[in-house]
């Protein structure tokens, strides 16, 4: 009984929290006049839904594909580069570790909009702007890596050391024990951090906008800004576009939540 009461409360909280999301859908269905109407209509009165027009008219398939390429690339690179470092920083202690941790955190310090200019200059010299999606992946990885390392470090710090020792005795090298014992046991943290990195990179805007000049390689969030002109801002279009953009990801994450988020409680280590 109590569990269902909790469910009810949970739905209430989630509903309240997701209200802005609902507002996005509602706005997507309203015409310009209804958008500014007062009192605002909670349910669109004259819903109209031009998904197809926005989806194809705005080249969304290609934009979404490019976003996916960037997000997958960044996430893969971050996981490959950062997991080991997070592990070492979560295990060892000492002045060197402190210094490293400090350094890593500091690398997160500047907003993309500021680092993009020097990176742009550097990438241009290195000829990377010829492969703009790769350039964006490299830049965004630098942005996400410290974040990922700091988050995963906390998870690795919670993995009991004697489990790794048992693995060493069972015949693993330290490297293998890291892969087969430490990583699975820290998977909650790794997974959540990776999901956050993925989503962040999927929505990356600043680097893509500056480094990708070919519209065919451009990403979805940049495509979104096409609705904002010097004298116009097509809110209806923006909301429709972003509803198309958000919905599938949201559905995927809700479907995968068993593996991604709900696994959190199942995986108690000790």
């Amino acid at each position: 009984m109590k569990r269902y009461l909790l469910t009810a409360i949970g739905i209430g909280i989630t509903g309240a929290y997701l209200f802005p999301l609902y507002w996005m859908y509602a706005t997507a269905l309203k015409d310009d006049a209804e958008i500014v109407q007062y009192p605002p209509t909670l349910v669109p009165q004259r819903p109209f839904w031009n998904v197809g027009e926005v989806f194809f008219g705005r080249h969304m398939p290609s934009y979404l594909w490019n976003s996916l390429v960037v997000a997958v690339g960044v996430t893969a690179l971050v996981i490959v580069l950062g997991t080991g470092c997070a592990y070492v920083l979560g295990r060892a202690r000492g002045r060197w570790v402190d210094a490293l941790l400090f350094f890593v955190l500091m690398m997160q310090v500047l907003p993309s909009s500021l680092v993009v200019t020097p990176l742009f200059v550097g990438f241009n010299l290195a000829g990377l702007l010829g492969t703009p999606r790769l350039a964006v992946i490299l830049a965004q990885t630098a942005k996400a890596l410290p974040f990922y390392v700091v988050i995963c470090r906390a998870s690795f710090a919670g993995v009991p050391r004697d489990l790794e020792e048992a693995a060493l005795v069972d015949g693993h090298s330290r490297l293998a024990a890291f892969f087969h014992i430490a990583v699975p046991l820290a998977r909650n943290g790794i997974l959540v951090a990776a999901v956050l990195v993925f989503l962040q990179s999927f929505g990356e805007y600043v680097f893509a906008r500056s480094m990708i000049s070919d519209d065919g390689l451009q990403t979805a969030t940049v495509g979104l800004s096409a609705f904002l002109g010097p004298n116009t801002s097509d809110w209806h279009g923006i909301m429709t576009y972003s509803a198309i953009y958000v919905t599938p990801i949201l559905i995927i994450f809700v479907l995968l939540q068993r593996r991604i988020v709900a696994g959190l409680t199942a995986g108690a280590i000790k």
Partner: protein, 301 residues
């Protein structure tokens, strides 16, 4: 017998070095370089058009003097402090409360927790836009709900009243930061051994006491990471200012990062923008130091 070169990377110190270097080298190339470049620019006379050539005149700390003596400097610093402190504190408290709530075992807890990711998926531009509509003074749904529920019958001009504009952005930012906090805290909570709570219960600890003396200290690693990252993220929040108030009215909601952006990209004063960024780095150095110190008291498995 010493380990062979190959073995040291599998079993010895070499492994640690290798794993760390992967990240380190990458960050030095792609992370440190732009930061140093920014510091350099803050000491030079630069604008949009001299970005590319390096033979720019050095001006010492003239940019710092210039930025710090501008009439809005003090105000912006104050707003930044309020914005960061309020955002981080509320995100943490609300995120923690939600993590604890969804930690309980009830039908649908997982799905609902997944839905909270929505805020992280939505593009910043859209979030700014949505909150702008919702907090609009005349036709915003928030005012309408406040009126319907008689909580505040008169309209609040959230974004155009200098008294509330900063808080309007802060509210939106708190909304944006909740899932990040909630998810990571959930991970941390799940890793706490249950038997500690049991022992504490038998020792006579009530829920509050258990939270204080078991949950909090055991979450130290997570909390340290979370708070420091939250501070940094909040210091980089840009879309909401661009989407909601443009830092206005008359700088009443302007914060350092937006100001830095305005200088760099609206008035093409790259030196000024870089200078503010460097001043912000100083703040983050403090945060990072606190974080590193906090890790010394962590529980390492």
């Amino acid at each position: 017998m010493r380990l062979s070169v190959f073995d040291t990377f599998r079993d010895g110190r070499g492994l640690d070095a290798l794993l760390v270097l992967l990240t380190l080298v990458y960050l030095i190339v792609f992370g440190l370089a732009p930061i140093l470049y920014t510091v350099l620019m803050s000491l030079q006379q630069v604008d949009m058009f001299t970005l590319g050539d390096f033979s720019r005149p050095f001006v010492g700390f003239a940019n710092y003097v210039d930025v710090l003596t501008r009439p809005e400097a003090g105000m912006v610093a104050r707003h930044t402090l309020v914005f960061v402190a309020l955002s981080v504190a509320c995100q943490l408290v609300l995120g923690f409360a939600l993590a604890l709530f969804f930690q309980q075992d009830f039908p649908g807890a997982g799905i609902m927790r997944g839905l909270f990711l929505a805020a992280w998926i939505m593009p910043g531009l859209v979030v700014g836009g949505i909150w702008r509509w919702m907090l609009a003074g005349d036709n915003g749904v928030v005012n309408s709900l406040l009126a319907v529920t008689h909580l505040h019958p008169t309209k609040i001009f959230w974004m155009s009243d200098p008294a509330t504009s900063l808080y309007a952005v802060t509210i939106a930012n708190i909304w944006l930061g909740i899932p990040f906090n909630m998810l990571l805290l959930s991970v941390g909570l799940a890793a706490i051994p249950k038997d500690l709570y049991e022992a504490a219960q038998l020792d006579g600890a009530g829920p509050v006491e258990r939270f204080r003396s078991i949950t909090l200290p055991m979450m130290r690693a997570t909390l340290g990471a979370l708070v420091s990252l939250s501070v940094i993220f909040t210091l980089q929040q840009f879309d909401l200012f661009a989407g909601m108030t443009q830092g206005g009215p008359s700088n009443s909601s302007n914060v350092a990062q937006f100001w830095s952006w305005q200088l760099s990209f609206q008035t093409y004063d790259i030196a000024g923008g870089s200078t503010i960024a460097v001043l912000m780095i100083a703040v983050v150095i403090g945060v990072a130091t606190l974080y590193v110190r906090s890790t010394r008291h962590e529980q390492i498995g």
